[in-house]
């Protein structure tokens, strides 16, 4: 949430999952990333440790992003499994202690009397927010231990610095107290911020849900009312029901919500929907694969629409099967009805014309059209169009 897509991973982690999460987000090998981190630490461990600790605090653990359900149940002691919280706490302690120790080693003016209490204080902070934040029942105990450790450490540091002037002493005291407060409350506030974003996400989600429900109920109830009113009109009822069904489906299963209208499948779907609105026919369309729309695709769909219109008008059936398949090298479209059929050799002039307009359309773009029919056996129109650009199909759904 702070960095898009960056999470701390629980699987395959060493300490807190910062490295493996970063590696996953960057798409690099986690081993390589760890090596780089170790090298950097050789240069300046405190800096790396500080960065790591910051990442730990501010990068949300994996799963928290996916909503409330995917969080570790209770986050409590896992007996027999991996006690994740203990690992967290020990990890934080180890890192902060190491950083302070090294800081003390490299900066000669920092005497052990300062380092030891500081260690104590950070240990207290580690206990307070490593454990206290997660386990409801034990929280007061851990927070108490943490707070007292921080204060003991703070006073010990003050005592160690007692030989300084009183101004320096009070300044140091204030600094130590502020540092303690930051250590104590910083993580807590960060967590609070996390919770707030979580809450906001939940609210957005429920608002979305309410909006969807409102839309569906509006549409469905309206249609049902219309159907009741026009119950005597068979054709109208059927087309009302069909239209509502389509609308519901496109809501439920996504698809042609306007954003993906430049493909062969969505254009065909739209043309068929349009025909369904005007004729009492249902098109059972099976669409396999998809392709971006080009001129040849447009011609194919236009010819397919003519074929479907033909079936709707003349076949005398209430369902027509439509099948579209996009292959890497061609697009095929079949329109089949089980209606009255006709003799392809002796078609009446008006249908001859349509057949011509179907095949002429397709042939202009190098495709083929074939009409198979016999009286009483229904009819099938087969359209096939070579694809101009042969490329590996990436379905734009």
């Amino acid at each position: 949430m702070f960095v898009a897509g960056l999470t701390r991973r629980r699987e395959g982690r060493w300490v807190a999952g910062v490295c493996s999460g970063l590696a996953a987000a960057l798409g690099v090998q986690v081993g390589a990333l760890r090596a780089v981190v170790v090298l950097l630490s050789l240069g300046s461990l405190p800096a790396v440790a500080l960065l790591y600790a910051l990442a730990w605090v501010f990068v949300p653990p994996e799963g928290e992003d996916g909503g409330a359900g995917s969080r570790e149940p209770g986050g409590g002691l896992v007996i027999g499994g991996r006690p994740a919280d203990v690992v967290d706490a020990v990890g934080v302690l180890a890192i902060v202690c190491g950083a302070v120790l090294l800081l003390g080693q490299f900066t000669a003016w920092l005497p052990p009397e300062v380092v030891v209490p500081a260690l104590l204080a950070t240990a207290g902070a580690g206990v307070a927010w490593g454990w206290g934040g997660r386990r409801e029942r034990l929280r007061p105990l851990f927070v108490a231990i943490g707070v007292s450790l921080v204060f003991i450490g703070g006073f010990a540091t003050l005592a160690a610095l007692g030989d300084l002037s009183s101004i320096g002493r009070s300044a140091a005291g204030a600094a130590v107290l502020i540092a303690g407060a930051v250590l104590l409350f910083g993580p807590w506030m960060a967590r609070l911020a996390h919770n707030l974003t979580d809450e906001r996400r939940q609210r957005i989600r429920s608002e979305e849900r309410a909006e969807v429900a409102a839309h569906l109920h509006d549409g469905v109830l309206q249609t049902l009312a219309l159907i009741q009113k026009r119950a005597a009109d068979d054709k109208a009822v059927r087309s009302l029901a069909r239209r509502q069904e389509r609308e519901l489906r496109s809501w439920l299963y996504g698809g042609s919500n306007g954003q993906a209208d430049a493909t062969v499948a969505t254009l065909l779907r739209r043309e068929l929907d349009d025909l369904e609105d005007h004729y009492a026919v249902r098109f059972d369309a099976v669409l396999v694969g998809d392709a971006p729309l080009d001129d040849a695709g447009r011609a194919l769909v236009a010819a397919g629409r003519e074929a479907a219109l033909n079936a709707a008008r003349h076949a005398g059936v209430d369902t027509v099967d439509v099948y579209l398949e996009v292959e890497p090298d061609r697009v095929s479209l079949f329109v089949r009805d089980r209606g009255c059929g006709f003799e392809p050799g002796a078609v009446p002039p008006d249908r001859r014309g349509v057949a011509d307009s179907i095949s002429a359309r397709v042939r202009r773009h190098g495709g083929t059209a074939e009409v198979r029919s016999a009286p009483g056996e229904g009819a099938e129109v087969e359209l096939s169009m070579p694809r101009s650009i042969v490329k590996v199909e990436e379905r734009p759904r």
């Binding site: 389509r246 489906r249 496109s250 439920l252 299963y253 996504g254 698809g255 042609s256 779907r269 249902r282 059972d284 099976v286 669409l287 396999v288 694969g289 369902t319 099967d321 099948y323 398949e325 292959e327 079949f334 089949r336 089980r338 099938e380 590996v392 199909e393 379905r395 759904r397």
Partner: protein, 223 residues
């Protein structure tokens, strides 16, 4: 097996659909019971011993896939010595989401029909499933063609991860709206051979570990 002798159990959470299907099947098959959710169905099926269970994909208590799994595992446990074979399942649904359909098939359903199917077609499908064959509606055939489309560079199990050219031909014709009989005539095959091809596709669909299949099914939510 004669149609009138087939014992059918209808599972659907909508009473309207249950009574509709029941009245459509009346007199043509023997409807031995109905249920409205998974728990009710498990005990009802155990009591009624149907040959074929018509199952809805979406239901409270886990849906069709869950029901099929529970009944089949119970049957597998009781298999030793039991005279009653496990019932066969036919999914009947309005759901068009590919992942739902593939999930029921992979759980063990012998076929998938949309609820717009006519009464006669439904009866034919039931007797087909009762006889141990698979039932592919045009839509299911389309899903399968789509799922198995493209060539995998190295299929982990070529036997299961790819369709043969013949199986593809058969599926294409089914997707175009051809009945098994018409497919057979068109390809100069016997109906039995068509049934064999379709059953082998069903087997591949159920057993293939092809990871694309799952990924495809979850990615594709189509109309």
């Amino acid at each position: 097996m004669s149609e009138a002798g087939v014992k059918v159990f209808v599972v659907d959470d909508h009473p309207l659909v249950r009574s509709g299907v029941r009245s459509e099947l009346e007199g043509r098959v023997d409807v031995v019971g109905t249920a409205g959710d998974v728990d009710e169905a498990v005990s009802g099926i155990a009591a009624a011993c149907p040959d074929v269970v018509l199952v809805d994909v979406h239901m409270p208590g886990g849906g069709g896939a869950e029901l099929i799994r529970r009944v089949l595992t119970a049957a597998a446990k009781a298999d030793s010595g039991s005279a009653e074979p496990a019932p066969r399942f036919l999914a009947l649904s309005v759901s068009d989401a590919a992942e739902d359909v593939i999930a029921v098939i992979r759980a063990g359903a012998r076929g998938y029909l949309t609820k717009t199917v006519s009464g006669a077609e439904l009866v034919e499908a039931i007797s087909r499933v009762a006889a141990g064959d698979a039932v592919f509606s045009p839509r299911l055939a389309g899903f399968v063609l789509d799922a198995f489309a493209g060539t995998m560079p190295l299929p982990s199990d070529p036997e299961l991860d790819q369709l043969t050219a013949r199986e593809r031909d058969v599926l294409r014709l089914i997707a175009r709206g051809y009945a098994y009989k018409e497919v057979a005539r068109r390809l100069n095959l016997s109906v039995k051979t068509v049934e064999t091809h379709v059953s082998s596709v069903l087997r591949k669909l159920q057993l293939s570990s092809r990871h694309e299949l799952t990924r495809w099914a979850t990615e594709r939510r189509l109309v």
